[in-house]
């Protein structure tokens, strides 16, 4: 596990299931179809609801498709990795969100440049909010976001909690939402999906998440990727093309268990 880029001597967090050394760049002979650099933003502060599982899922599937992942963890005050083909972020507590704001400002230009270059990003819950224009707290304070997604979030006293089913470009997507922020899309901003069951961005307009180019924001934990492998592979495909300059060359996957887990949730939750 990489300890090199750690500020204040704080080691990387352990991502359950990931082998030791997954932060190391493999030798050219062992790289398979190509090396894909995955960056997980603030895993300690902003991944308390199982969102590390997204990174584990991406790394494991990158290997199954015959590529080699390099899993970077970016911590507050640390050096942002030189190469990034896929950027992932999760949800945290309000205290965690406060802790990453200063660092996010430092790496804002880099993230905007990556987004403009078509780098796929998956930002869940708190990090989704921080990628938007602003977060307005309950007492009216405006905290500016990165503005990569044209969304604005209003803090609420009431939390939106429960299982969710979405209809998306990647088929039905299932997950679990747990947020107090109510998010509104700007005019022309595309959502990630439409709500079939659950509350979504704000509980009123039927939208969930946001998508601009290859940047995806969503409230869905679960985590979102294991049970929705079509979406996971779409992100990997985009990253693979960026990393290799060639079209994605997927390998056949057995996703029977994931498909069963997902379709059971859809059947339970969507009333016909």
């Amino acid at each position: 596990m990489s300890q090199l880029s750690q500020p204040h001597g704080i080691p990387d967090v352990s991502i359950p299931g990931e082998p030791d050394g997954s932060a190391r760049v493999p030798a050219a002979a062992d790289a398979g179809k190509g090396v894909i650099h995955v960056v997980h933003l603030y895993p300690r502060e902003m991944s308390i609801y199982g969102d590390l599982g997204n990174t584990r899922t991406l790394a494991a599937r990158i290997r199954r498709h015959g590529y080699s992942p390099v899993v970077h963890q970016h911590h507050p005050g640390g050096e942002f990795p030189e190469t990034a083909h896929l950027v992932v972020g999760g949800g945290g507590q309000d205290s965690g969100q406060v802790r990453v704001e200063a660092d996010l400002e430092q790496i804002a230009d880099r993230l905007r440049a990556l987004a403009d270059a078509g780098t796929p990003m998956l930002m869940i819950c708190g990090m989704y909010q921080l990628l938007g224009n602003a977060f307005i707290t309950v007492d009216g304070k405006r905290l500016p976001g990165l503005g990569i997604l044209d969304v604005t979030t209003q803090g609420n006293a009431k939390r939106m909690i429960g299982p969710v089913v979405l209809s998306t470009d990647f088929g039905d997507v299932v997950g679990y939402e747990n947020h107090s922020g109510s998010t509104t899309l700007g005019a022309g901003q595309a959502p990630f999906g439409t709500v079939r069951s659950g509350l979504g961005n704000n509980g009123t307009d039927g939208t969930e998440g946001a998508r601009t180019g290859n940047v995806f924001g969503s409230y869905l934990h679960g985590p979102i990727l294991p049970a929705n492998p079509v979406f996971a592979d779409a992100l990997i495909g985009l990253a693979a093309e960026l990393a290799t300059g060639r079209p994605f060359e997927p390998a056949a996957q057995d996703d029977a268990i994931a498909d069963e887990a997902r379709s059971r949730q859809v059947r339970r939750l969507v009333k016909r």
Binding site: H8, S14, E45, G50, G53, R159, N178, A258
Partner: protein
């Protein structure tokens, strides 16, 4: 008074009815609570020796059972709620069995296990004299929403406690609560000896506020520290902070142990340390380390916490799992001896409706032996989780009873283990109770 009597009678009737059906530990309490909202305050009005609330994320049931055993070993009459039904109405339900219809409990002390939110609800009705605050970890975030919120609930309970609090020295979410107790309220700690401090990360939540200016407390003369002797044997050491000169060769008579618990694992040892430190605070000079050790040795694991059911001559362990820290500890405790394994995950309210937390647990210790069957409403999600840790899963059967039958049939001549969430455990236990000899829930064999 009439109202309380009516509440007691109605509650007792509901209790008798629900016991006949074989379950439902909270319903009778709900009935009594509806009829008389002042029920709790009234019932506990004549308990002179202390009203103790035990709360925190993990270990409440085990620690409460241990604390009650130690106090009873000192001759105290103790009322408690041993069912793990840790909402206020669960407390009332267990009271109903012991209450005279006048509605006042006859006991020296009350030791109550309460879930973090219900501990406050309870305190609003009855101010606790003492509180034992165990730990704060991710647990059922769909109910408590955030770890910081849970920590605030515990701090608020400590503020309302009138005589003494016992805090976890090693969990900074809990130890920082020392600054919140009222003037004149005693603060004692339990924790682990420096020799095993390196094992704490496997047990507890990472506190991300590492850069603020909080200085952790240091153990004093009244604080109990866990010092393991070997894998199963340990001592609870008192007075370490004050008397550095305690010699290794002369056993300190203030210490509890060495002793071995019936329940395995470091988490159980820490629970015993917490129970010993709290009993010492409650009993003062009457605390007898010998009696405490004797009582702790005799405590059997609470149901579902490593409880063993003998099935056709072979042990079947039921292990309750409900959050990442708890599942990780359980795998560390039980996974070190790999046996045939089943995992049952439900997502009802009492289980936590969000199963995301399964991705914060590492299942690698199950890789070699594999998992025979996953079950419960989210049985496929569990199988998927194991797939991502490269743990082989032979079968998925979401229905619990057929899964149990298949599991027992496939491993007739060897020890077995089921990791299960709360409602899955209750259902499995009901099925097992109908077939094999095991105590009723709420009436633990003592």
């Amino acid at each position: 008074m009439l109202r309380t009597t009516a509440a007691v009678v109605a509650g007792k009737a509901a209790r008798a009815a629900s016991r006949l059906r074989g379950g439902g530990s909270a319903l009778p309490g709900l009935v009594a609570e509806r009829i008389d909202p002042g029920f709790l305050a009234h019932a506990l009005a004549d308990v002179p020796g202390g009203i103790v609330v035990v709360t925190g994320t993990n270990g409440k049931t085990t620690t409460t059972k241990m604390l009650v055993a130690v106090l009873r070993a000192h001759g105290r009459r103790v009322f408690s709620n041993p069912t793990g039904s840790n909402f206020t109405r669960g407390v009332i339900s267990s009271m109903l069995g012991e209450l005279p219809v006048r509605g006042r409990l006859r006991a020296d002390m009350a030791v109550l296990e309460l879930d973090e939110a219900h501990a406050l609800k309870f305190a609003a009705a009855v101010q606790p004299t003492h509180a034992l605050l165990l730990n704060v970890a991710r647990d059922q975030l769909d109910r408590f929403a955030e770890i910081d919120h849970t920590a605030k609930l515990l701090a608020s309970l400590a503020e309302q406690t009138t005589v003494g609090v016992v805090l976890n020295l090693d969990d900074s979410f809990v130890s920082r609560i020392r600054d919140r107790v009222a003037d004149g309220v005693a603060v004692h700690y339990f924790g682990v000896d420096a020799s095993i401090a390196d094992r704490l990360p496997e047990l507890q939540e990472q506190d991300v506020r590492f850069d603020d200016d909080f200085v952790a407390p240091v153990a004093g003369p009244d604080d109990g520290l866990l010092r393991p002797v070997d894998e199963r044997t340990f001592e609870v050491v008192f007075g370490l902070g004050a008397a550095d000169g305690v010699s290794e060769s002369a056993p300190d008579r203030r210490n509890v142990g060495p002793l071995e618990l019936q329940q395995r694992g470091l988490a159980a040892m820490i629970n015993a340390t917490a129970a010993a430190a709290t009993a010492r605070m409650l009993l003062g000079d009457a605390f007898d380390p010998e009696a405490a050790a004797e009582a702790l040795r005799a405590v059997t694991p609470p149901f579902g916490r490593g409880e063993v059911v003998v099935v056709d001559g072979q042990p079947l362990e039921l292990v309750l799992v409900k959050n990442p820290a708890g599942f990780t500890v359980a795998l560390g405790t039980y996974g070190s001896t790999p046996v045939a394994t089943m995992i049952a995950i439900n997502d009802n309210y009492a289980d936590g409706r969000d199963v995301s937390w399964l991705y914060d647990v590492s299942f690698e210790s199950l890789r070699t032996r594999g998992v025979t069957i996953t079950s419960g409403v989210r049985g496929y999600d569990m199988a998927l989780r194991l797939q991502y840790d490269d743990v082989p899963v032979a079968e998925v059967q979401t229905e619990l009873d057929p899964a149990l039958d298949a599991f027992l049939a496939q491993h007739p001549d060897e020890p077995k283990r089921i990791f299960c969430t709360y409602t899955a455990m209750m259902a499995l236990r009901r099925t097992l109770a109908a077939r094999y000899d095991l105590p009723d829930i709420g009436e633990e064999a003592s």
